[in-house]
């Protein structure tokens, strides 16, 4: 049982956590929100330390030091393009911590452990361990340590799900026979294996949903621990994290018009596309243009919408995109950025990358708000995005993308599409946009090509005559 003063202080930190999420709703108050949560955390930790006398202060200080020494450089050095990896890593750390505490609590309570405690601990450990390996794989994929494409083989879903089934069976067995200690490592091993198999079979572009789901799992397992220890602050914080991850996952999968099950088990992005699309492509021609041509079109434009995607972040082209926008704005051209919800590798990723390039956030437009503006735009510039602009999602009922909400890029008077090669996007689907008469394809490394374009525009000097 917790000491009474600590219980009151826990209530205070709960209030601060809730206020923190409320303040995160808008940019203006968001930093206050972060400070509020930081204060809530400090109060929770300090009141625990005061209420419970930990004998091994050496280990405590050591662990806290390790955390600070590891955590500080991560927070300060990670580039904004790599925030998804950092997030996956933090999910791995958090879920492993929760799983380890669950195991510790089990061994601590033996042999007088009741059914409720073992059941909750088993569920919590399964969730914690699978989130750990799942997040590690997500990290490795995002960091490029292993290929981003899904690792698929026949019957993979049967293998994965039976692994999970076996883990759950072990959990049930442990709950009914709590003193059978040997079951715990087997259960943990199966859960670890399932997490591995699950995320290996998911492709890079599905990471926004996957990261959100893993975020949710990490929260739920923390809350489960709160049930075992009868600790309210754990329950509330875990529930807040769990629901946050869940909502974000819903938003992400809606933005792809797919179900959770399809994201988790669909293996989308694994198809080899060379065979079928190769012949189709030969029949249709793509118009390739130079940056110089694009500069000529942009000179006469009044409004431009930039559509960034993950490819922009990969090419580190966000700064030169901002430079282009500056040059255009100096000519009196209106510039907006259209942000698709699943652009990038985690929810909100593009916003952060562009904010880092000092793009004012007022210029970042959400899909629903910006779509009606495309028909009035003179030029839409697509940099490093592909599937989220494919008109087939609107028109072709047989396309795998059909039904997915897209940015209506094709409605702009001219579309400038920067692309590294003619390869299709993540989904493996050819983009109808390439073949439209009003589309100008510019091939090459986004950063190099955009630099040329900016230089060309600067050479032309003089601002456009206002009409």
């Amino acid at each position: 049982m917790t000491e009474l003063p600590a219980e009151y202080l826990y209530v205070l930190s709960i209030v601060l956590f809730i206020l923190s999420l409320r303040w995160m709703s808008e940019v203006k108050t968001s930093r206050l929100g972060n400070w509020s949560a930081t204060a809530g955390m400090a109060i929770a930790i300090l009141s625990t330390l005061v209420a419970f006398q930990i004998q091994r202060t050496d280990l405590l200080v050591g662990a806290a030091l390790v955390g600070t020494v590891l955590g500080t450089p991560i927070a300060l050095k990670v580039p904004m393009t790599a925030v998804p990896q950092r997030t996956a890593m933090s999910h791995a750390f958090g879920s492993l911590a929760v799983a380890l505490v669950g195991a510790a609590e089990y061994y601590q309570d033996l042999p007088k452990i009741n059914l409720f405690t073992v059941s909750v601990l088993s569920a919590e450990m399964i969730l914690g361990f699978l989130t750990f390996t799942g997040s590690c794989v997500a990290f490795a994929k995002l960091q490029g340590l292993i290929p981003g494409r899904p690792f698929v083989y026949r019957g993979r879903n049967v293998v994965s799900l039976s692994t999970l089934g076996a883990a759950v069976a072990m959990g049930v067995y442990l709950a009914l026979n709590p003193t059978q200690e040997f079951v715990l490592p087997i259960m943990a091993g199966l859960a670890l294996l399932f997490g591995l198999l699950l995320v290996l079979a998911i492709g890079g572009a599905d990471m926004p949903t996957v990261i959100a789901i893993l975020n949710s799992y990490a929260g739920i397992s923390a809350a489960a621990l709160g049930f075992v220890l009868d600790n309210k602050v754990l329950i509330v914080a875990g529930a807040l994290d769990g629901s946050s991850g869940f909502i974000l996952a819903v938003i992400m999968s809606k933005a792809m018009n797919r179900s959770f099950a399809n994201v988790l088990f669909g293996g989308v992005g694994s198809r080899i596309t060379a065979g079928t699309t190769g012949t189709a492509q030969a029949a249709r021609s793509v118009q390739a243009y130079t940056p110089e041509d694009v500069a000529t079109v942009l000179e006469d434009a009044r409004s431009v919408i930039v559509v960034p995607g993950y490819g922009m972040a990969v090419a580190q082209a966000q700064h030169v995109v901002k430079e282009l926008a500056d040059v255009l704005q100096r000519r009196g051209i209106d510039v907006k950025y259209a942000i698709h919800p699943v652009a990038g590798r985690m929810p909100g990723h593009m916003n952060v990358v562009l904010a880092d390039a000092q793009v004012p956030y007022e210029q970042l437009w959400e899909m629903d708000r910006v779509n009606p503006l495309f028909p009035e735009a003179d030029v839409a510039i697509v940099v490093g995005a592909n599937d989220v602009t494919n008109p087939a999602a609107r028109t072709k009922a047989d396309s795998p993308l059909y039904g997915m909400p897209i940015l209506d890029v094709d409605k702009a008077r001219t579309v400038v599409f920067f692309k590294r090669s003619t390869r299709p996007g993540f989904s493996g689907v050819d983009n109808e946009l390439f073949y439209l008469p009003n589309t100008m394809m510019v091939f090459g490394d986004a950063k190099e090509v955009l630099t040329e374009l900016v230089a060309s525009l600067k050479r032309r000097g003089g601002s456009r005559q206002k009409v």
Binding site: I18, L60, T68, G94, A104, Q108, A239, G348
Partner: protein, 100 residues
């Protein structure tokens, strides 16, 4: 050993459900602009599981248990430190406005 009575479980279940509903409503109102910092923030918040590790650390029965929770404290501490710091770093980016 924490004794949890059935009444406690019911109360805790209610708290969990209420917090989940509240969380869902609050998150719905978070601007899409801020989804990345939101995720790093909630992840840091969920590392309040460090409290559980600290409680077990008070009287571990053996060194194995002590090792488990010490590692857990280090992991959670890493998340707390890096989580709040990186969230602030991201949010500071959004404050900059272009002078027109």
């Amino acid at each position: 050993v924490v004794e949890v009575s059935q009444a406690d479980v019911v109360v805790n279940l209610l708290i969990f459900l209420m917090a989940s509903f509240l969380g869902t409503e609050l998150i719905r109102h978070v601007s899409r602009l801020l989804h990345t910092p939101l995720m790093s923030l909630t992840n840091a918040i969920s590392s309040v599981s460090i409290v559980a590790a600290l409680i077990v650390m008070v009287g571990p029965k053996n060194d194995f248990i002590l090792t488990l929770v010490t590692v857990a404290v280090a992991l959670a501490a890493t998340n707390i430190v890096s989580g709040f710091m990186i969230t602030d770093r991201i949010l500071r980016l959004f404050r900059r406005r272009q002078t027109k």
